[in-house]
């Protein structure tokens, strides 16, 4: 609430780059799974930085602030960085599985997880919709433990 807030277009720019990286990885995955593994591996590192240090610290976050944002109009509102940071952690899981798949020859596994990541990145970049954030409440609801609710 009182956190400074970030330009909401930053995470969307990051998602657009994520989309491109996963898309190229998928296109190359059948012929060159090793290259695909490198791409998703690099993306996994980006996700890890975003989840661990915050979305503003990722290479794409830095690129957005230093190169893209100065060319845009000022944002009409700022957003809490916590949701996109959480989404980076979700993305990290998918990128790691995809990388393992491509690197170990389980190419289809890598492709499926890259596909899921593509869905999330596309929704984020085009619709500003955070899939991981939505799954969060569903996950909590499904989890067996039912903590303090009575008040």
């Amino acid at each position: 609430m009182s956190t400074p807030g970030i330009d909401p277009r930053g995470p969307r720019f990051t998602a657009a780059v994520t989309f491109v990286i996963f898309a190229v990885a998928l296109l190359l995955s059948d012929a060159r799974p090793g290259v695909a593994a490198v791409l998703t591996g690099v993306q996994a590192v980006f996700f890890a930085i975003g989840a661990g240090l915050g979305v503003q610290k990722t290479p794409t976050g830095v690129l957005f602030r230093s190169v893209v944002r100065p060319r845009l109009t000022p944002p009409d509102h700022l957003e809490d960085p916590a949701p996109p940071r959480f989404a980076q952690a979700v993305g990290l899981v998918f990128a790691v599985v995809a990388t393992i798949g491509f690197a170990t020859g389980a190419v289809l596994l890598g492709q499926v997880f890259a596909g899921f990541a593509i869905v999330a990145a596309f929704l984020n970049a085009v619709f500003a919709f955070c899939l991981g954030c939505e799954m969060y409440l569903l996950g909590l609801r499904l989890s067996p433990k039912s903590p303090t609710s009575g008040g």
């Binding site: 998928l26 949701p83 996109p84 869905v119 596309f122 919709f129 955070c130 569903l138």
Partner: protein
């Protein structure tokens, strides 16, 4: 760069296309339904929790200090990792501010999971509109626009 057999290069392309189409379809669908208050949750499909006249009773049990609005109450469920919840908070607080008898109550879904299950809240933000007796009139998932909220307020609809 040796030539590759064609049937071995298409899986990635197919998955990429499927993912993009699925995402675009889902995104367009969501854009259409987000923030839309279900036309009439009361006379259509009788979802169990939705028709419960004691929606407010459940809310009040979980959030003891809360007060029911004289005309209507906007009950907003939010969570930490939810950017549209902020927008929704601004819109609903403003509506409550400008209209006498309308109260806005924001509930952290994470802290009240039992209530979330009881009222069958699946996403944040979800906004329930309760009438003066505390009965749920309608609800919307996703951030509603101001006009959508005003159009759904029961005491503003009649006459």
């Amino acid at each position: 760069m040796s030539p590759k057999p064609l049937d071995n290069v298409v899986t990635g392309i197919v998955i990429l296309l499927l993912a993009v189409f699925a995402a675009a379809g889902f995104g367009l669908y969501r854009r259409r339904v987000d923030g839309r208050f279900a036309p009439s949750a009361v006379d259509e499909t009788p979802a169990p929790a939705v028709e419960d006249p004691s929606a407010w009773a459940s809310v009040n049990a979980a959030v003891p200090g809360a007060e029911l609005g004289e005309q209507a109450t906007l009950v907003q469920f939010s969570s930490a990792f939810c950017a549209p919840c902020r927008t929704t908070r601004v819109v609903l607080a403003d509506v409550a501010d400008r209209h006498d008898g309308v109260a806005h109550l924001e509930i952290d879904a994470e802290e009240h999971l039992a209530l979330v299950r009881q009222l069958d809240v699946r996403r944040t933000p979800t906004t329930l509109i309760l009438d003066r007796s505390g009965r749920e009139v309608t609800r919307a998932a996703g951030a509603p626009r101001r006009e959508q909220v005003l159009a759904a307020l029961p005491h503003l609809q009649e006459s």
